[in-house]
Each structure stands twice: as C-alpha cells, then as structure tokens.
C-alpha cells in the first residue's frame, strides 16, 4: 500500500484549508485605522526638522567649546575635542542629506502636471 493511498479523503477534508479560502485572506500588516489615512502624527514635521537642526548646532557648539578649552590649555583631553568635532561633522552631513532629500522631493512636486 503506497503512502499516498493510505491518506483517506476524510483526512484530507479535515485539513485546514484557510489559506486557499478567499474569505480568509492572510493578514500581512495591520490595516490602517481609518482607510488610507494614518493616525495624527505626534509632532509635525517642521518641529522634527527644527529639533534636528538645533541638535546639530548644539553639537557644533560643544565641539567649539571643547576645542577652545584645549587650545587655551585649560584641558588636555585632546581626543575628546577631536571626537566631538568628528561627531559634529557627521551630524552636519546627515542634516545636509536630509535637506537634499527635502529639496529633491519639493522639486519633484513642482514638476507634477496638474
């Protein structure tokens, strides 16, 4: 007796076939609460951007302050000053990237046919 023949039709009917049933579509992602619209964002985009810019400015100010302390001889932590400079530079690069993306999307919108 073959293995396939040993499976009775009753056993096949008992298998769950929810995946093939059109009434039971697999849920990939949770549906949006209200059709296509997302829930109200916690903060508006402008304030997020403002926070980013002020953080970058803060980093630069910290780096300038540390460098000044080292140059004046009040502090000998040269590495901290250089690390702060590098971090400020990376943060600035990130800000520039975000700005480039923003300008790009704005220009894309302006090119749109109405």
């Amino acid at each position: 007796m073959s293995v396939i023949g040993s499976i009775s039709p009753a056993a096949i009917n008992a298998l769950p076939l929810k995946g093939l049933d059109p009434a039971h579509k697999p849920v990939i992602a949770a549906p949006l609460p209200d059709g296509m619209r997302l829930a109200q964002p916690a903060a508006n985009f402008g304030s997020v951007l403002e926070g980013l810019v002020s953080t970058v400015a803060e980093k630069q100010a910290t780096s300038v302050d540390l460098t000044k302390q080292v140059l004046l001889g009040n502090n000998d932590q040269l590495h901290q000053s250089v690390i702060a400079m590098q971090e400020a530079s990376v943060a600035f690069s990130l800000m520039v990237e975000v700005r480039n993306k923003l300008v790009e999307s704005y220009q894309e919108l302006m090119r749109m046919q109405v």
């Binding site: 953080t55 590495h79 690390i83 590098q86 990376v90 943060a91 480039n100």
Partner: protein, 137 residues
C-alpha cells in the same frame, strides 16, 4: 542623538590610556629621585582601571572604563653605596626609587598601542557613518 555609536566607550578608554601614559612619563622622569614630599625615595606609581556601565536611553547598556586608582608600587628600591650623595644614610648607602626602565618602556608601548587601537575604532566608526550616509546617493 548619538550618531557615532560606541564613541563614549572609546572616549573613556582614550582618557584612561592617556593617564597611563602620563604616569609612565612621571615614573621615568623620577627614576633617580631620592627625595619626595612624603620623605624617602620616589615610589613607582601604577594605574588600575575599572569597568563602568554606560546606560543609554533606548540602547543596550555598554561598558566603558575609567581609572579607579593610582597607587604606589610597594617593591623596595635598590640601595646604592654612594657616600657623596646628600641623601646617603650613615652607612653610605642611598635608597634609589623602585623604577625599572624596562618595565616602564613595556608599559609605555602597551599604552600607546592600546591608544592607537581605540583611535582606530573612532576612525572606523566615522567611516561607517559616512558610508551609511552615501546610501541615498
């Protein structure tokens, strides 16, 4: 916002190794000092490191290091027969500091190599961050 991850840890390590380097400089400079404010010859100083937990919001707790103490080496120094020396005892011997230049050089090289290793971490972190920003290009 900490863009270069692990930079706090590396900064602590750099500070600690720099202190170790400074202490080596002090030991070598005082290898012939026979008179100190505490009295007696100079005692070699040793730096001991301790682990420090850095807790950060939303990230894993990481461990950095700091200098826990700078203590004196208790090994006795050499007694050199030198009756002309102003600090010579009644028997004509001078207690010299317990500084061994060979030990100090080994310590110096270890500290500077450790410092270089930590600098490489900073450099590579920065390179990775800059490379990541190039994703969008």
């Amino acid at each position: 916002m900490n863009l270069i991850s692990g930079v706090d840890i590396t900064s602590g390590a750099l500070t600690a190794q720099k202190i170790r380097l400074d202490i080596v400089a002090q030991n070598i400079a005082n290898a012939q000092t026979t008179r100190t404010p505490e009295g007696g010859p100079y005692k070699r100083k040793i730096v001991s490191f301790e682990n420090e937990l850095v807790k950060r919001a939303g990230g894993s707790p990481l461990q950095t290091i700091s200098v826990s103490s700078i203590s004196a080496d208790k090994a006795p120094g050499q007694a050199v027969y030198n009756p002309q020396h102003p600090d010579a005892g009644p028997d004509g011997t001078v207690q010299m500091p317990n500084v061994n230049l060979a030990f100090e050089m080994v310590d110096l090289i270890t500290a500077s190599r450790a410092y270089e290793a930590n600098l490489s971490v900073v450099k590579n972190s920065r390179t990775l961050a800059m490379k990541t920003l190039e994703i969008g290009k």
